[in-house]
């Protein structure tokens, strides 16, 4: 009540006195802030960070694509259109040859062989048009591994041997790149999460022990962290990844790579946790809890944890893009996941030699997905970090 009195006094000095109605509104607004919970304050603060909000939406969209890849992708990622090897992205038109506005459609693509270079050229046949439709029937798939369905988010009504709709072009074997990017999101987006969870567990345990007990244990763990950080991580990761046998099944390789990435990733999180523990150990409320006879475990879990959880979440979010990039880099070099697994790094392997990039620049397009994801996670992490401290001005 004290606060409200004061703010009324301050307002009395202003040039235009508030009407009674406005005054009540104001006080109500203030009260709303005073009684709001920590989570609510964080949420309001987060909403103010527009870029973070947009990024959150992008991240959620990407994960939805990963979950429902079968539905979003128009084709099966392993099926090739033999007649459309390295076909460029299909152009979408809205104006037909008569100059009339239509719903978005594509022309039939014809293959012509250049008599001199023997290369395939793809030209549009303006005679035949295929309108782009939503919820078209396509190849059958299982949704969430349970229900069978044939409906796809978008596509064209055309037999496979006649026409394919390649939003991002087709690869060397005539597979739809967009479909492959959708399926690749599964590995590329989850490997970051899994690796971050593994590094979090290690980081919290070692960082927590280090910061809470201090002394010799702290010293040893700190030296260990410094040591791991002082080795250039890419040569280290490369060597560790090369140690994984090449003929491992995809699932095992996936977890192998995850552990390799987490092996290097935990140090940053351990540092954050330790720093938080160190500063919090001296706080009055921890002292009070100790005097009140709380057990160590209760102090850590009940009193310390909530006040640094948001910071941990922020640094988690900020460390995901690094891991996604490492996976992409490793797979790109041929040390990470390998075909038949589909990840964005594996897709980019096609772009490894200059010849194929010069011939079909669209094989670089999966990189856009990587860049968008990395940027979105960075902004999202920034937003959460700002929101984590809602009392700061």
């Amino acid at each position: 009540m004290q606060r409200v009195e004061k703010s009324w006094l301050e307002r009395a000095d202003e040039d235009t006195p508030l009407s009674e109605q406005d005054f009540i509104e104001e006080v109500k607004g203030d009260e709303k802030i005073f009684v709001a919970s920590y989570l609510q304050l964080m949420w309001w603060r987060f909403l103010k960070h527009k870029m973070a909000l947009i990024s959150a939406i992008i991240v959620i969209l990407f994960y939805l694509v990963a979950i429902f890849a079968e539905f979003v992708a128009p084709y099966n990622p392993d099926n090739s259109f033999v007649q459309f090897k390295l076909a460029p992205p299909t152009q979408i038109h809205i104006v037909d040859t008569n100059g009339k506005l239509q719903r978005p459609f594509i022309y039939k693509t014809l293959r012509e062989r250049d008599p001199e270079t023997l290369r395939n050229n793809y030209v549009e046949d303006t005679e035949t048009i295929y309108p782009i439709r939503f919820f078209v029937q396509g190849p059958e798939y299982e949704i969430l591994g349970r229900w069978n369905a044939t409906t796809h988010l978008f596509g064209v009504d055309a037999p496979r041997d006649e026409m394919g709709f390649f939003l991002l072009g087709a690869d060397r074997l005539g597979r739809d790149l967009f479909s492959r990017v959708c399926y690749g999101a599964r590995i590329s987006l989850t490997i970051g999460l899994v690796a971050v969870v593994v590094s979090l567990v290690v980081g919290i345990v070692l960082g927590g022990v280090s910061g809470y007990y201090g002394g010799t244990i702290d010293n040893v763990i700190q030296r260990l962290i410094e040591f791991i950080r002082s080795i250039p991580e890419i040569p280290l990761i490369m060597a560790l990844a090369a140690a994984l046998p090449a003929d491992l099944p995809v699932v095992q390789l996936y977890f192998g790579i995850t552990i390799v990435l987490a092996f290097v990733g935990w140090t940053g999180l351990a540092r954050v946790v330790r720093g938080r523990f160190l500063s919090m150990r001296e706080e009055d409320f921890v002292m009070a809890a100790r005097f009140a006879g709380s057990s160590e475990m209760r102090i850590i879990l009940r009193h310390m944890m909530p006040s640094f959880l948001s910071h941990i979440i922020a640094s988690l979010t900020l460390s995901i893009p690094g891991i996604i990039l490492s996976e992409t880099g490793l797979s790109f070099l041929g040390l990470g996941l390998r075909a038949p697994a589909i990840s964005w790094g594996v897709l980019l392997q096609e772009a490894q030699n200059l010849r194929s990039v010069a011939l079909a620049p669209w094989v670089l397009l999966p990189a856009l997905a990587v860049i968008l994801t990395v940027l979105a996670f960075n902004f999202l992490g920034d937003g959460i970090r700002d929101a984590a401290d809602p009392y700061a001005k």
Binding site: F227, I231, L236, A242, P321, L354, L364
Partner: protein
Amino acid sequence: MLQYIIQRLLLMMITLVAVSLVSFVIIELPPGDYVTAYAATLASSGDSVDQARLDSLRKQFGLDLPIYQRYLKWTWDILHGDFGYSFVWNKPVSELIWERIGLTFAISISALIVTWVLGFLIGVYSAVRQYSFGDYLFTTFSFIGLGIPDFLLALVLLWIGFRYFNTNVGGLFSRDYQTAAWSFAKFVDLLKHLWVPLIVLGVGGTAGLIRIMRANLLDELRKPYVETARAKGVSERRLLLRYPVRIALNPFISTAGWALPGLINGATIISVVLSLPTAGPLLLNALLAQDMYLAASFILILSALTIIGTLISDILLAWLDPRIRYQ
């Protein structure tokens, strides 16, 4: 100061021993050794595999000794300048690596300098002219720069060079100089090719440094002493450079230590893309072929030099900012 240096040197010794151990263990991790890999290639090409010959090969390379003996022998030899033998290249490792490691560090350190100069200048500009057009431009640039993985940037530059300028921007030397001995002309040729890896490596680092410099300087500029100095009539330029920039520079310098491992990282990957004659491609091939002495030597030397580089930057920092010594 002397005590601090001795302390750090001792710590470095321990770290170096640990690095050598880690490099060796990593190389031992894959099942089998070079001889098994060799036998597999022989078998796949249809040649008969003679067990006695394999055993004699093992003996010749010292692969039949127990692991700790091999480690001790390896480190002992390294202390005498012998890094072992590359099975794939049929040459002593020391003949293969030094020039490549030299080039790796030349690229990384030039990139470090470029990053610093650009990051400093743009950072100061962005802070002084906050919310100007230039500030927004550089802020956008730095966010995008942080998001683009360097090997993708290298690929895109490669493609642009090929598509629009019809040249291959990869490599570090023109064809004439590739195998030539070092001379001034070769050095000039190197400079002509160096800018592509420098841009690729520099973008990410510069972007990060711009953010740091801008944030720090903005914090400083809002402090009352700046206002006081301005009220006393100190010129804007002097006012800026005398204190706020100097203070904002501190966290900037301390990033040097961890910038080096990052640059070595970047240099390793982009070298593969741009086919630079540095450590990256050779290390990759050595790892894929289980050429263990070559791979281990690369990891060991890259790590050791990085640790020494970090040590030098730490000592410099302690010399610049005495507070660090007593922490």
